[in-house]
């Protein structure tokens, strides 16, 4: 019994990791109907930015550049926020200079803070978040706005293009070796329930941390969607773009917000995956792991992403342990897909997706 529970628990915890990536997909699909293939690339970009901002193995110039980029990103977000808060009054010219000077000060403070040993996690995580926000704004401006009202497949292909771009961009500016990410998250294995079973159950503390983080994220997102003003607007947009626009919800801003939130989720996923595997190009491939989770849980359901992740994780581990001796190893690459495929045969919209109603 002990080994079985250990496998199941290991599967559940691995599933949480998949869910973290799938969450970002769901957020964007719900709010804009875009199937965002670039989520995996965003995870890579977030993790690489974070780890390189914290690292100490490159010259000072790199960090001045990083500080400038972070300052620029933060400043851009501030400007956008300013525009939104006061859409009527034009921004006074001095205010622009003030912001610029403040940003320069922020940037140089950050660069000085860096010294020769890299930023601490407390600075680097918000900086990486600011960069993700900047990325969201750029994607909305440069890609989504010109493509508004196109067919879903065109938008999907454009996100594949974005994924290529971000993959290349991230590795060009941040380098492409394997970096270890250490935020002080405990990652030693530990034993649970030693009294109940002989030898107890072996789990990794990092996985538990990931599970807690996923739980917190889901709660925060649920509150954000249900209780806040922006959340209501997001749900309205998800329901019907045109209707939302006609009652005065600014679609472009909603998209920026939702891509930013997806960027934060990507950062969270990047932190966990990066701590687990090291930050390297293969993190971008976790997107491929998240896709079956996504369709299993339903493209439009946040709880579905979590439960789908748990199911896929468990199924995968069980299959690896109990099935692969019979049909050969390496089945984890496709098992999740086949599992999701079978569920879809019975529920074409996934387990928790909205029922697809078709009219002529």
């Amino acid at each position: 019994m002990g080994p079985f529970i250990e496998v199941v628990l290991g599967g559940l915890l691995a599933g949480v990791l998949y869910s973290l990536v799938a969450l970002g997909f769901v957020l964007i699909f719900k709010a804009s109907g875009v199937f965002n293939f670039a989520q995996g690339a965003m995870v890579l970009f977030a993790a690489l930015s974070l780890v390189r901002l914290m690292g100490d193995d490159v010259g000072m110039g790199h960090y001045v550049g990083a500080a400038a980029a972070t300052g620029l990103a933060a400043g851009f977000l501030v400007l956008m926020g300013w525009r939104r808060a006061r859409p009527q009054t034009p921004m006074p010219a001095q205010a622009r200079w003030t912001v610029l000077i403040a940003l320069a000060a922020l940037g140089s403070a950050l660069a000085a803070l860096h010294g020769a040993k890299g930023w601490s996690g407390w600075v680097a995580v918000p900086a990486a978040a600011a960069i993700m926000g900047f990325l969201a704004v750029a994607i909305e401006r440069l890609v989504l706005r010109p493509l508004v009202n196109q067919e879903p497949i065109i938008l999907f292909m454009s996100t594949i293009g974005i994924a290529f771009f971000i993959d290349g961009f991230a590795q060009t500016i941040w380098g492409s070796e394997i970096y270890t990410l250490d935020l002080g998250i405990p990652k030693d294995p530990m034993f649970l329930l030693e009294s109940a079973f002989e030898g107890g159950i072996l789990v990794n503390q990092l996985d538990i941390f990931a599970a807690v983080m996923a739980g917190v994220l889901v709660v925060v997102l649920a509150v954000f969607f249900q209780k806040t003003r922006i959340g209501r607007a997001l749900r309205a947009v998800a329901d019907d773009h045109q209707a939302a626009q006609s009652v005065g919800i600014p679609l472009n801003q909603i998209w920026i917000i939702v891509w930013t939130v997806a960027g934060f989720v990507a950062l969270a996923a990047g932190i966990v995956w990066g701590s687990k595997l090291g930050v390297q190009f293969s993190i971008a491939q976790v997107a491929l792991k998240a896709l079956p989770v996504l369709i299993l849980g339903g493209l439009t359901s946040v709880p579905g992403a979590i439960i789908g992740g748990l199911m896929i994780g468990t199924g995968e581990k069980l299959a690896e342990v109990y099935l692969s001796p019979f049909i050969g190893g390496g089945i984890e690459n496709w098992f999740a897909y086949v599992l999701a495929l079978f569920v879809l045969l019975f529920r074409p919209q996934g387990l928790f997706g909205e029922r697809i109603i078709e009219r002529i």
């Binding site: 199937f35 440069l142 890609v143 010109p146 493509l147 196109q150 067919e151 879903p152 497949i153 065109i154 999907f156 292909m157 454009s158 594949i160 293009g161 974005i162 994924a163 290529f164 771009f165 971000i166 993959d167 290349g168 961009f169 590795q171 060009t172 492409s176 491929l288 896709l291 079956p292 996504l294 369709i295 493209l299 050969g328 190893g329 390496g330 089945i331 690459n333 496709w334 897909y337 086949v338 999701a340 495929l341 879809l344 045969l345 074409p348 919209q349 996934g350 697809i356 078709e358 002529i360």
Partner: protein
């Protein structure tokens, strides 16, 4: 002026239903074919033929297959690479185990085997639609990847997992030189393109398009969705299978399962989207674009004399490729084929204002 079709009267039903109703199109096509069949083998350098033209032709064929499924029948597929692998390994095994078979028959059998696999993985499309289906077809991609790398029978128990194609010998004639292989590929691509062009104009093609535009409405007016969808999967996989076999036999020579991984699927999808969904001409334009861009990107830093490390160069290539795709989607979401159609409209008057 150039494209003026005034005075070209259609006096018979045959003329009315011709594949290329405009005289200028027919002339241009004949010239292109003449150039491709006679000019290129005589004048083109070996590098051009081996590195650009053969891959371009074979990928065009695969793109035609994929376009039938995605562009004409509206079923998004991300498993093309897997289907090409089925064609390649089926051809390898037929040629290996039944050596007396004619190679043309081997290619056809490979296409048939791929069609069967395609139908099998097409069955979910009867219930699953849209992006759910797209992700479900990834199941085919990953399963087939795994199958050919793990089940040793398919690779004839070679220890490295890499297999080599037998020499290309048809009716006792040995296709050894690049030009000969190019001609073989060109011949097959011409036939496939002609067949596909006619298929999509006929009853079956119209039923695919009806399914694509709205499957429920199509069902109500009497189109059998099961037959239409599965036949699209079968025809598309058949063509993709043949192209996979050609890719392995004519282009690669020796290959391993990695040659048909998911990047191949994405590449082909890019070809048909950039070329134009639902257009046979678009397949060729898209294939040309996607084949040429990486080569051009490779050459540019060398030409400018900028020293860039190979790693950086490959990352920059990724970036530029992604940016170009986004740019093309924004500039013309209906693809290069639409640009050509617009250009044709303009040429009808040009250089006169009215």
């Amino acid at each position: 002026m150039i494209y003026r079709e005034a005075g070209q009267f259609k006096t018979t039903y045959r003329a009315d239903q011709a594949v290329f109703p405009i005289l200028q199109d027919r002339v241009a096509l004949l010239l292109i074919l003449l150039g491709a069949y006679v000019g290129i083998p005589m004048f083109a350098s070996e590098y051009l033929v081996v590195a650009i033209l053969i891959p371009f032709l074979i990928l065009s064929m695969a793109a035609i297959g994929l376009n039938i499924l995605v562009g004409y029948c509206g079923q998004i597929s991300l498993g093309t690479g897997g289907f090409m692998a089925v064609g390649a390994y089926a051809a390898y095994n037929f040629a290996l185990r039944v050596p007396e078979l004619n190679l043309i028959v081997v290619f056809l059998l490979a296409g048939g085997a791929t069609a069967l696999v395609g139908i099998l993985f097409g069955i979910p499309s009867l219930r699953i639609k849209g992006f759910y289906l797209a992700v479900a077809t990834l199941a085919a991609q990953f399963f087939l990847d795994w199958l050919f790398s793990r089940v040793q029978w398919f690779t004839n128990y070679t220890p490295s997992g890499s297999v080599a194609a037998p020499p290309i010998r048809i009716f006792g004639y040995y296709f050894g030189s690049p030009a000969e292989r190019y001609l073989l590929a060109l011949l097959l691509v011409t036939i496939v393109a002609l067949v596909a062009k006619n298929l999509v104009r006929g009853r079956i093609g119209r039923s695919w398009m009806a399914i694509r535009d709205m499957d429920i409405a199509a069902e109500i007016i009497g189109i059998r969705p099961m037959f239409a969808k599965l036949s699209a999967f079968a025809v598309s996989s058949f063509i993709i299978g043949i192209s996979g076999a050609l890719w392995a036999f004519l282009h690669l020579g020796a290959w391993e399962p990695l040659a048909f991984d998911i990047n191949r699927s994405f590449n082909l999808l890019f070809m048909i989207i950039i070329g134009g969904l639902g257009s046979i001409l678009g397949c060729f334009l898209g294939a040309a674009f996607i084949t040429m861009v990486p080569i051009a990107l490779n050459q540019i830093p060398a030409m400018l004399g900028v020293p860039i490390s190979t790693a950086t160069a490959s990352h920059l290539e990724l970036m530029i490729f992604g940016a170009l795709i986004v740019f093309f989607l924004i500039a013309e979401p209906h693809g290069l084929a639409r640009l050509w159609a617009v250009g044709k409209q303009k040429l009808r008057l040009w250089p006169f204002p009215h």
